[in-house]
Amino acid sequence: MRNLLPIVTVVAAIFVLWYAAAVALNAPWANDKAQRAGIDLSFNELVADTWSQDKPKLPAPHQVGAELWNTTGAMIAKGRAFSKRSLIYHSWVTFSSTALGFVLGTALGIALAVGIVYNRTMDMSVMPWVIASQTIPILAIAPMIIVVLNAIGISGLLPKAMISMYLSFFPVVVGMVKGLRSPSAMQLDQMRTWNASSAQTFWALRLPSSMPYLFTSLKIAMAASLVGAIVGELPTGAVAGLGARLLAGSYYGQTIQIWSALIMAATLAALLVAAIGVIQRITLKRMGMAG
């Protein structure tokens, strides 16, 4: 209960601000309409209008809530959870490329980190490229990736996953390099006194030591991966996925649809990161490294 009160307070404050902003932003349109119809709006009527427009500049929370329900819960009730009008379907599409991109990005990130830690040439040369890769705006490179991969006959899930991978390998490289280097000089000397091979030192010492760093990186990578998947759906004329919903919404001025897709994306991100958090807690606890 002690934790609940601050959270409820913050959420309530957000809702108050949101409703107030909806009034302020949608009032000009409501006044315009009233003027053309030749009627004067009372304050109550004005507020009621700004909270119930079809294409508001800023939809009110209950409008977004209703749209979310209509495209998720209500669809399930009708047994059409995976119809093209359902956000569950679009979330699933985005999730599949997020997950694939995340797995690919994690694998690439770990592989690069191992290379950087064990190979002096890679240590000197790879990191600047890794950092440079992240300075390129993903929005600019995403269509290129799709086009190039299409040209060599790869389409569907993989191109989007590649964009997710492009964003998600970075935090894994940085975290794992630090993690694999986290054993102390004493622990490494200890291995030397046993005449352990590099591979033995890696499996028995470096890899387990890097776990706390890995999980922290994975959380960031997962969020980045979702952004990548959505961005991958934006410029490519994709017909399914949360990104496609966002784009379609903005084409037709469907702000309510945009906002509900945004909230769906945020919910998805929160769930995915929380899932990693749970795995992290269980793993580190079993390894005696919790806290």
Binding site: S184, M186, Q190, R192, T193, W194, A204, P208, M289
Partner: protein
Amino acid sequence: MATDTIISAKDLSLTFQTNDGPVHALKDVNLDVHKGDFVSFIGPSGCGKTTFLRCMADLEHPTAGSISVNGMSAEEARRQRAYGYVFQAAGLYPWRTIGGNIRLPLEIMGYNKSDQDERVNRVLDLVDLAGFEKKFPWQLSGGMQQRASIARALAFDADILLMDEPFGALDEIVRDHLNEQLLHLWDRTNKTICFVTHSIPEAVYLSTKIVVMSPRPGRITDVIDSPLPRERPLDIRDTPEFLEIAHRVRDGLRAGHGDEV
């Protein structure tokens, strides 16, 4: 060289190049350690006692002179796993049980599974930790963790035990207890032990040979062969012989310090 010479240093020097110029960690060090000896290295910080131990372990490379361990170079000796090394901190892996930690060097060295089990049990018994095999390091006190790390160094067939201030971080009472146990262990296993410390009573109580060192440059100023018997109860520390050796060690340390004190 006598046949029972285990470690032999000849004119050993080690100079570190730093930004403030060269630092002579060791200069012209000569020492023979014989089989079954318990040798303590004592001196103020910076006298090179740890560096000397690390040279024996092939963790540092001398810049001049030579050192042989078991009649071969330090590197060959390390490759043949001729010694167990106990560091200042226990350095147990938190994700392995006590048994798992002791098993680690055995796994690395490729002992078979049943041999591992048998050895883990034997050394746990040796350091009085029987029954703690399944516990994790955080469940043990600092003294018990250090005992586990000694067990880990004893688990494989190395005749030499190199110990770098293993009890430095422990309180006096635990330390006394572990010193007593260490003597028992030395007696039962017949290992050759090199032991770095900065405690005079500890050095005198444990050793058959006390090497007094002094800094800038790191060198040996005195080597004292202890006349104390192998059998040493804790109250031997109140006997005149003990106090006399302690006195000589203290004099050696003071002389090494020169005009700096």
